[in-house]
């Protein structure tokens, strides 16, 4: 149980085996999918395309980590895309007003703005006792509406941005694009945080059984607040990178992106009923989404199919999860009978 401590008190051998099997299965599926797509279009598995794909997936991949924590605590966050747009818009205006700010400072502002917006949502959920779906559905439109109001319907355009800001997501570190570097750093921090710190384990304990967690002395409302703050912070950072990468901040930036983030989690095997999920699974889930988004235009599927395919992917993934869980439960009852 040294590296597999991701599933809460696993104990049952077949449970952790199945989880490992699930990630292996997902990885094999990704490889097969790549091969099939490459047969249809041999430009798919080229170095340029693969690095483009990782670049486009990096924001999704680290926001899915935050969403994993939210879903682990039996919640859901529909406001992430709106927080992304609002933080992106505000930092866009800041960059126009003060063109000489260092990009790292801009990114920090975005992160802090996101944490602030996330903490409002978190307070509503943890202190106000509002179910996460209602709270985040409401905040989704509040943040999106504020984005419209403060921008007055205007865009922040590429020519208004200083080069240093736009180059933030174009420069490389050791030959790897900054965005991918940021995603890798976040993944390493999360891996340590979730598996090897007390707070990280508390998050999973809260999701597995809130009642038991409360009895054992975990302050659940603080954990909930923390989870939504992390999610908000990652969305805020994502907003800055998004605006820098696509060189424009619009009112409908990333509209519908919350669905993509949730589907990356669900694909990665995060249990929607709370309590379980792994960093590796979320990574693979994000990569799979990235491949689907990248491959659809390459195999000449109309972009209008994207939304429907995304929904289908979510429903198939949750149904697969259900069947795996039913199988586990059946085996466990069999074991108990013997």
């Amino acid at each position: 149980m040294k590296s597999d401590a991701k599933v809460l008190p696993a104990g049952k051998i077949n449970w952790s085996n199945l989880v490992k099997f699930r990630e292996l299965g997902l990885a094999i599926f990704i490889i097969l999918l790549c091969v099939v797509i490459n047969i249809r279009n041999d430009k798919f598995l080229t170095w340029v395309n693969i690095s483009d794909m990782f670049l486009d997936t990096s924001i999704l991949s680290f926001m899915a980590l935050g969403m994993m924590l939210v879903i682990v605590t039996r919640g859901i966050d529909l406001s992430v895309a709106s927080i992304l747009a609002l933080s992106g818009m505000i930092t866009g205006f800041i960059v126009i007003a003060f063109p000489h700010i260092h990009p790292a400072f801009t990114a920090t502002i975005g992160l802090l703005l996101g944490i602030f917006f996330g903490s409002i949502t978190g307070m509503i959920i943890s202190k106000g006792g509002v179910p996460p779906i209602i709270a985040t559905l409401g905040m989704m439109s509040v943040y999106r509406g504020i984005t419209f109001i403060i921008s007055g319907g205007r865009w922040v355009n590429a020519y208004q941005m200083p080069d240093s800001f736009r180059n933030m997501t174009r420069n490389t570190l050791f030959g790897i694009n900054n965005m991918i570097v940021i995603a890798i750093i976040i993944y390493i921090i999360f891996y340590y945080f979730i598996n090897h710190t007390r707070t990280g384990r508390w998050i999973f304990a809260t999701g597995s059984s809130p009642e038991a967690a409360r009895v054992s002395g975990i302050k659940i409302d603080r954990i909930l607040l923390l989870v939504y703050m992390i999610m908000g912070g990652l969305s805020g950072l994502g907003g800055v990178l998004w605006v820098s990468r696509y060189a424009s901040a619009q009112n409908d930036t990333a509209a519908g992106f919350e669905l993509t983030v949730i589907s990356a989690c669900v694909l990665g095997g995060v249990n929607i009923a709370g309590g379980s999920g792994t960093v590796l699974g979320v990574l693979l889930g994000s990569i799979l989404i990235g491949i689907i988004n990248n491959a659809l235009p390459m195999i000449r599927v109309s972009p209008f199919w994207k939304l429907a395919i995304q929904g289908l992917v979510i429903i198939i993934a949750v149904l697969v999860n259900v069947f795996i869980q039913r199988d586990i439960r059946r085996r466990n009852t069999l074991l108990r009978k013997i």
């Binding site: 509002v130 209602i134 409401g138 439109s141 669905l259 939304l307 429907a308 929904g311 949750v318």
Partner: protein
């Protein structure tokens, strides 16, 4: 309890009667009308009010069945996408040469079918919450609408079709939409409050487990309620399409927020098991009239969306906070 009769009906208490949430909503409606008629001159004319109802009633048909769903403790956020898909299918079949009445029936079938799929998924897979199921079908239904119509618009409807969105009953000033809404509202209120089916919906919302043990067919009732919701989505789609005079895949975007907000503001508990149809209908008029007035004053729709989002959160949060204060006073 020798010979004591426990009355099954609560005795009438005047104070309790006026302390109901519905009176609060009535006061709110009056306040909205008064404030608006002060701001903009001839708002309070009966003609103006009648016409105002047409602006917001098109989506309101879903509110009636959303009350059932939320009382059951579930939620359906795919309703707006269902409106878009039913509307697109209806208009595409018509422009492909099908009779308008037949294509309206096809639209109704599509709506009910989408609701049925939601119901099957929610009731067959008890591990899945209605949230994730309807979140997925939300993007599937709208996605299919995009696949069918792409970025095109269909607007070749027969002239009489505009009657649904713009017509009046006979020579009166009552809009046809309002009459249809009242008709459906009475039917669904009777089903919810006066039939055993309605009582079972409440029972499921209070405790799904104990309802199942007491012999209530929980799965079947959920399936019926979700299918009915799908059907009402298609009814809304007919009125909305007629009102707009055209159909696009992106109509009704974001309506799910408003519909859920109306139901919650109407005093239906988001945790299930509690609520009344009258409250939801009154809340619909509060939000609808307020929105119409803001439209008259040229206040951008985004402000209203922010207001509705905050309203949704506060109407759920307020009872919780009050409960907390009460508990801390007792101890």
């Amino acid at each position: 309890m020798a010979g004591g009769i426990i009355s099954s009906k609560k005795s009438f208490n005047l104070i309790r009667f006026f302390l109901q949430w519905e009176w609060m909503l009535v006061i709110l409606i009056i306040a909205v009308i008064v404030v608006n008629s002060i701001i903009s001159g001839n708002y309070a004319s009966i003609n103006g009010l009648m016409d105002a109802t047409m602006v917001f009633l098109d989506k309101s048909f879903i509110v009636l069945t959303m009350v059932f769903i939320i009382i059951m403790g579930d939620i359906d956020i795919s309703v707006a996408s269902n409106i878009a898909l039913s509307s697109v299918v209806m208009s595409v079949t018509h422009s492909a040469g099908v009779n308008m009445i037949a294509s309206m029936l096809i639209g109704l079938l599509v709506g009910a079918g989408c609701g049925f799929i939601n119901g099957i998924l929610v009731s067959r897979f008890k591990e899945l919450s209605a949230i994730i199921v309807t979140l997925a079908t939300m993007s599937i239904y709208r996605g299919i609408a995009y696949v069918i119509l792409g970025d095109q618009v269909v607007s070749d409807f027969p002239d009489w079709f505009s009657y649904f969105g713009w017509g009046y009953v006979g020579n009166t000033i009552i809009p046809f939409m309002l009459a249809a809404f009242i008709f459906f509202a009475i039917i669904f209120a009777l089903i919810l409050h006066k039939t055993s089916f309605g009582r079972r919906v409440f029972a499921i919302g209070n405790s799904q487990e104990s309802s199942r043990f007491s012999g209530i067919p929980v799965e079947r009732i959920k399936l019926i309620v979700f299918t009915l919701t799908g059907l009402m989505c298609a009814v809304s789609a007919i009125f909305l399409t007629s009102r707009l005079g055209s159909s696009r895949p992106n109509i009704a975007q974001g309506y799910e927020l408003e519909i859920i907000a109306v139901v919650v503001l109407g005093g239906v508990s988001i945790n299930g098991g509690k609520g009344r149809m009258l409250g939801a209908v009154l809340a619909l008029f509060v939000i609808g009239l307020a929105r119409y007035a803001m439209g008259l004053k040229n206040i951008p729709g985004q402000v209203m969306i922010v207001a509705i989002g905050l309203l949704l959160i506060f109407s759920v949060m307020l009872p919780n906070l009050l409960k907390k204060i009460k508990i801390s006073k007792i101890y």
